[in-house]
Symmetry: C2
Subunit: 320 residues, 2 copies
């Protein structure tokens, strides 16, 4: 009856969240530490993280022997190497490859499994969420950027080097595509992320004189566009229609790759479900091969947002 619990760690640019989780996805205890107060000193961060994990296990009323292992979701986390490498938002891993798993295991004395945030989200959705029982699905995280985790035959795809599933950086617009943060142009992320949605609104406002509540907003965010759409603003509604259409068209190409049962959406922008779902589904079914027409589902994450990142990371540890 031992080893019935796992620890999930979600490493973010500002804070890292830690939770002790049971097999049903209940978070028994959780805590948060800062990620951004250690400068370039990765050892100091790992040491603080180790202390927090030990404390959290205690808070949950569990012993070390009860814990199967630690799952970690981190930006640029590599499943094969256990490294967090060249992650721009983590000062202690911005210029080098940090042997994260090795260092954390040395500190805590428990096995560690590491991957990037989107892959962790896919694991979480499969273990506890909207993809329970699915063996083949594609997780798309619509946040500041666009991430993805691809599951085939019940396993997250890591590819030859551990970096598979960068679907935010496939080409959505070929001609005169927007520059993307990655250095390419026309990436899905440049259009269908929170930042992309805000940019579409700003571009359209500049290009016309159409009245819109968004003209009164000084620095438009995707949240502003969402609220304007809720209030019936025609331009804001069209921005979501355009975004949903692009997503659906791109999903059609993803389907030709791995023939998934469903596309699973997660992240801040996925909250705009009411405006995105219809154009996404329509464009996907218009652009997909006949054999898949009206067969592939688009579903939304079922994990409580505050727990989702911890649950996703923790799900990795069940395989340890």
């Amino acid at each position: 009856m031992s080893k019935q619990f796992v620890v999930g760690v979600d490493v973010g640019g500002q804070t890292s969240k830690i939770g002790v989780v049971d097999a049903r996805g209940e978070v028994l205890a959780q805590c948060v530490i800062r990620s951004d107060v250690y400068g370039k000193d990765a050892n100091a961060f790992i040491s603080a993280l180790g202390d927090a994990i030990k404390g959290c296990i205690k808070d949950a009323g569990k012993e070390f022997d009860d814990i199967r292992g630690i799952g970690v979701g981190a930006p640029n986390g590599n499943y094969y190497t256990g490294e967090v490498a060249f992650a721009p938002n983590l000062a202690w891993a911005a210029d080098s490859a940090v042997k994260f798993s090795e260092m954390l295991t040395a500190n805590v004395g428990l096995p560690v499994s590491l991957t990037n945030d989107a892959n962790a989200a896919a694991q979480g959705e499969m273990a506890y969420g909207a993809a329970r029982g699915m063996k083949n699905f594609i997780m798309i995280t619509l946040g500041t950027g666009v991430g993805s985790g691809i599951v085939i035959d019940g396993k997250v795809v890591y590819g030859h080097d551990g970096f598979a599933g960068e679907l935010g950086h496939v080409t959505a617009i070929r001609q005169n595509g927007r520059p993307c943060g990655c250095g390419r142009t026309g990436c899905l992320e440049a259009y269908c992320s929170a930042i992309g949605v805000a940019r579409t609104a700003r571009e359209w406002l500049e290009a016309s004189n159409e009245p819109s509540a968004l003209r009164d907003v000084e620095k438009i965010s995707s949240k502003d566009v969402y609220e304007a759409a809720k209030a019936g603003d025609a331009l804001a509604l069209r921005v979501f229609q355009y975004t949903g259409n692009l997503l659906g068209r791109t999903f059609a190409d993803f389907i030709a790759f791995s023939a998934p049962e469903a596309i699973v959406l997660f992240g801040g922008l996925a909250r705009a479900k009411e405006f995105l779902y219809e154009p996404m589904m329509t464009a996907m079914n218009e652009n997909v091969l006949k054999i898949w027409k009206n067969k592939v589902k688009i579903v939304f994450s079922e994990l409580k947002e505050s727990d989702a990142a911890i649950l996703g990371a923790s799900a990795l540890a069940w395989e340890l």
Copy 2:
């Protein structure tokens, strides 16, 4: 020491090839039967195929007990269901789903594993060819159409329904794309197949007065374009440059999906390696995310063309 041999069957529109193969990929005996003389009678075809297989095993000097099983590559062959369904080029399977594996097993008394031609090619390349030792690669067949077989962690990807890997039908050209045989527009297959290459040449000849040896050809085929390019024809050379560029750009998106070690090319059009390789590599490396720049190989099939289809199909049977 028994079960050291397999049978490979390549079902084509006009003929079907049968071979007995050993573990090193040597074809010990082979024969060919017609596929197109049975009208809508699938039973008659399977019966003829069964007889040919039995004869071929005899010709190879082997007993039934020496044979592990039969691998079959067939248009629209489904790995999960063992059916050949709605294959336009096979009269006996054009309007219905034929329970191919079940029927052939009943006839021959050996287990049968079935998939489509491109997936069989990927299996063959992995077992005996250019992808030996690779666990993650994408096979692209450049023939009359464009097919694909995706290998992840040493296994061909079949997806939720058995139809994964239709990369000929991802969108290569978004705006004003050519109509494709599948009903979509802008598909990779509409540009980068043998038919697509011939069409590009014809379109470009019509759109200009540029002199070209191809103007003297009545019905231009991809072979004509290849020969003109070999003779230094400027327009023909540009057609291959354009085709290679489109392939490379699209490969960049495939890499973002599964992070393969290599793209493996096979098929009639792949013979134009001398004209395609350079523009393909350049476009792929220009369009891929930084982490993959100059890291992913493009390699060409190493299987003898006359044996390749049999070997590919036979490789399926080793898993039986």
